[in-house]
């Protein structure tokens, strides 16, 4: 009880101090005064109360359905216990594993087994040789208040077993979660944004993500009948979701949200930063991103940007596009991009980087 009280006090102080500077700093988006019309909407959807559960997390990261989880072994303090049946496994709350032997402990490990794919007639061919285990390591953050670091890993070799039974190109995720998701039932949309922003500032991206998902889903259900003001909130929540997934390294899940915002946020002050984030996300997934950079550069040519944050994005896009041209041995095109970056970078913040790029380009053309 005392711990809860201390936590609530801490969060209140943290929120109060951060709320004073609710201006977007290029990170997650907070609320605007004009959004206050949505103050009455409560973010209290029951389906979002289970975001620390094994079933939810493994579904998000690897696409495993709760019903595909067969058993879990919880290992803690020289003891271990096997939990059988998909319901028991998927319901284990990693932030508060009270139903297991790890209840109240600072650290524990969970080894989850999942059922292999295949079909009824043809069972999975790879089942005899590949692992069907997910490892989860949970540790309480040393300097946090009720904050836990969850590391989720699908153990597979980079080589031979990369193929059989592979779940995702990204195999390890470090998620920071909060022991007490008490604030979820408390806030309307503007405050929900703000709470999410503060969670984000506390590096608890997973919780911030779900706070935004509740808002996103509310507007998503409105479909094409959404009003212009609602559209802005819809886009903000999508941007925040994309950013949170990105920060937690879940790039394949970040991509659709960032792509959606990049395409639909024309005129919004977060469009350029979103496009840069989309390009970075594509790069992480080894997907070509030159069209995104071209889009940013063309947009600036047609409608010169004035905001320093937007200009920063244009410079980044010029440099990155130049590097792609350089890789393609298109020296003149690359030079053109670097020159454009130099002309915009009046504060010379990227001078050293551009100079390095030019140097390697000159070496290439010689």
């Amino acid at each position: 009880m005392k711990k809860l009280f201390l936590l609530a006090a801490f969060l209140f102080i943290a929120f109060a101090s951060f709320s004073q500077s609710a201006e977007d700093e290029g990170y997650i988006i907070g609320f605007d005064k004009s959004d206050s019309v949505y103050m009455d909407f409560k973010v209290e959807r029951p389906e979002f109360n289970d975001w620390h559960k094994i079933g939810t997390i493994l579904n998000e990261l690897y696409g495993l359905e709760p019903k595909e989880l067969s058993d879990a072994t919880v290992i803690c303090d020289k003891k271990f216990k096997v939990y059988e049946g998909w319901k028991n496994v998927s319901e284990i709350d990693l932030a508060n594993p009270q139903s297991t032997i790890a209840g109240g402990k600072d650290k524990y490990i969970v080894q989850v087994r999942y059922r292999k794919g295949g079909s009824e007639d043809f069972p999975d061919q790879s089942s005899s040789t590949t692992s069907n285990v997910i490892l989860i390591n949970v540790q309480t953050a040393k300097d946090g208040v009720g904050e836990k670091i969850v590391t989720v890993c699908y153990p597979s070799s980079k080589y031979e077993y990369e193929v059989a039974g592979d779940l995702s190109s990204q195999r390890i995720f470090n998620l920071s979660i909060h022991e007490y998701p008490i604030f979820v039932n408390t806030y309307g949309i503007p405050r929900g944004f703000d709470a999410a922003k503060n969670l984000h500032k506390l590096d608890i991206h997973w919780d911030a993500l779900y706070m935004n998902k509740a808002i996103y889903n509310y507007f998503d259900k409105k479909g094409a009948s959404i009003t212009p003001q609602e559209k802005v909130l819809f886009l903000k929540s999508a941007y925040n979701i994309g950013r949170c997934y990105f920060l937690d390294g879940v790039y394949h899940r970040a991509l659709p949200y960032l792509a959606f915002v990049s395409r639909n946020s024309s005129g919004e002050n977060f469009q350029m930063t979103c496009k840069i984030k989309l390009a970075e996300c594509l790069d992480k997934l080894n997907m070509e991103n030159s069209d995104v950079y071209d889009d940013i550069i063309l947009d600036h040519k047609n409608n010169p940007k004035k905001d320093p944050k937007d200009l920063d994005c244009v410079i980044k896009a010029c440099i990155a596009r130049g590097e792609i041209y350089a890789m393609q041995k298109k020296v003149d095109k690359a030079k053109e991009c670097y020159q454009m970056a130099t002309s915009i970078d009046t504060a010379k913040r990227y001078a050293a980087k551009i100079s390095d790029c030019m140097e390697s380009l000159n070496k290439m053309s010689n």
Partner: protein
């Protein structure tokens, strides 16, 4: 003439015996040579090989993985065959043979159980406790009499900065001499590895065995077979292996190769279709995006249809109209094109 006849018979017999030997040789090799390839492609410092006279110990592995870090090991827990065993003596932990939980010694023979197991190590570095090191060992493979292999995954917060990351490698147990295994790798595998993303025409059985998980075309064929029998997750894994290989290659070469782009587009589309088939549209989304992105570039708009359908209700119709206009502006024949009609019909 009699001598000549005898010589011919001897020659024929030699050819027969040689080819019979070669076939037998191939049959055994295909169980261990593919893994030997992987073993040799690992960083040299991670090529751990045990034999009847030498174990691979935890201390040896830690010295290579956590280079330059002086670890003080305090506790080791082994979870194997539903049992936890704990060791709390530093030297015993360092000298622990990482293959011992599955090693079966009977008489002079050493065999291995197929089971997987996990080792958790606790301790301090520079006077502060480090995050538990998790070592997960699985995937027994190889050929008895030649070399056996185990896949080792180490998860720790000391591999890269202070967040948890992993390193994966194979550990070998040799029944043959290591020099012999390496010689075989150099003679047989090394020339084949150059064909990883090449056409599969004219591949020998041995090349198939060694490259089946490394050649994008072979993986694509595997994926198609799995799809045919509704083994969707296996199909995703096979297509995914090929897709990642191609994407990594395209990236390092500046996305110049149009044919490989087209292949990557097909693979992304197949992966997405399989995800959708098993009811995981969210996992399909990034692949659909990629397929439509290359499709638009190569004027193959049929790859955009599933992507447009996957968009939220707010955007779907708007984006479909945009793509339809884009097709027209490119001068594509849209008058009776099924793709155009489908896209244009999405609202």
């Amino acid at each position: 003439m009699g001598t000549m006849k005898r010589l011919i018979i001897i020659f024929c017999l030699s050819v027969f015996c040689f080819s019979a030997n070669a076939q037998q040789y191939d049959a055994v090799d295909k169980y261990w040579l593919p893994q030997e390839c992987s073993f040799n492609m690992q960083d040299e410092s991670l090529r751990f090989a045990a034999n009847s006279a030498k174990n691979v110990t935890l201390g040896e592995v830690f010295n290579a993985v956590f280079k330059g870090k002086n670890l003080e090991l305090t506790k080791m827990s082994l979870l194997s065959r539903s049992k936890v065993t704990t060791v709390e003596v530093a030297d015993e932990i360092r000298n622990y043979d990482i293959l011992s939980p599955v090693k079966i010694v009977s008489g002079g023979d050493i065999r291995f159980d197929m089971a997987d197991y996990m080792i958790v190590v606790e301790g301090n570095v520079a006077g502060k406790p480090f995050g538990d090191i998790l070592i997960y060992i699985c995937n027994a493979s190889g050929a008895a009499g030649k070399s056996m292999y185990r896949n080792v995954t180490i998860m720790s917060d000391m591999i890269q900065s202070d967040v948890y990351s992993t390193t994966n490698f194979l550990v070998a147990y040799d029944y043959q001499s290591r020099a012999e295994a390496e010689k075989k790798f150099k003679e047989v595998c090394a020339p084949m590895l150059a064909k990883q993303n090449e056409s599969t025409e004219g591949f020998s059985e041995q090349e198939y065995a060694i490259l089946e998980n490394r050649n994008a075309k072979l993986l694509y064929n595997q994926g198609q077979n799995f799809t045919e029998f509704d083994q969707n997750r296996d199909a995703i894994a096979a297509f995914g292996g090929a897709y990642r290989r191609l994407c990594a290659e395209l990236k390092t070469k500046g996305y110049n190769d149009v044919e490989k782009k087209r292949f990557a587009m097909m693979l992304a589309s197949e992966i997405a279709k399989n995800y959708i088939k098993i009811g995981k549209p969210e996992q399909a989304s990034a692949y659909l995006y990629h397929a439509q992105s290359i499709g638009r570039e190569l004027n193959e708009y049929k790859y955009a249809i599933d992507y447009v359908k996957s968009l939220n209700a707010y955007e779907r119709g708007v984006y479909a109209s945009k793509l339809a206009a884009e097709m027209k502006s490119k001068g594509l024949d849209v008058s009776d094109a099924a793709t155009y009609k489908t896209i244009n019909g999405i609202k």
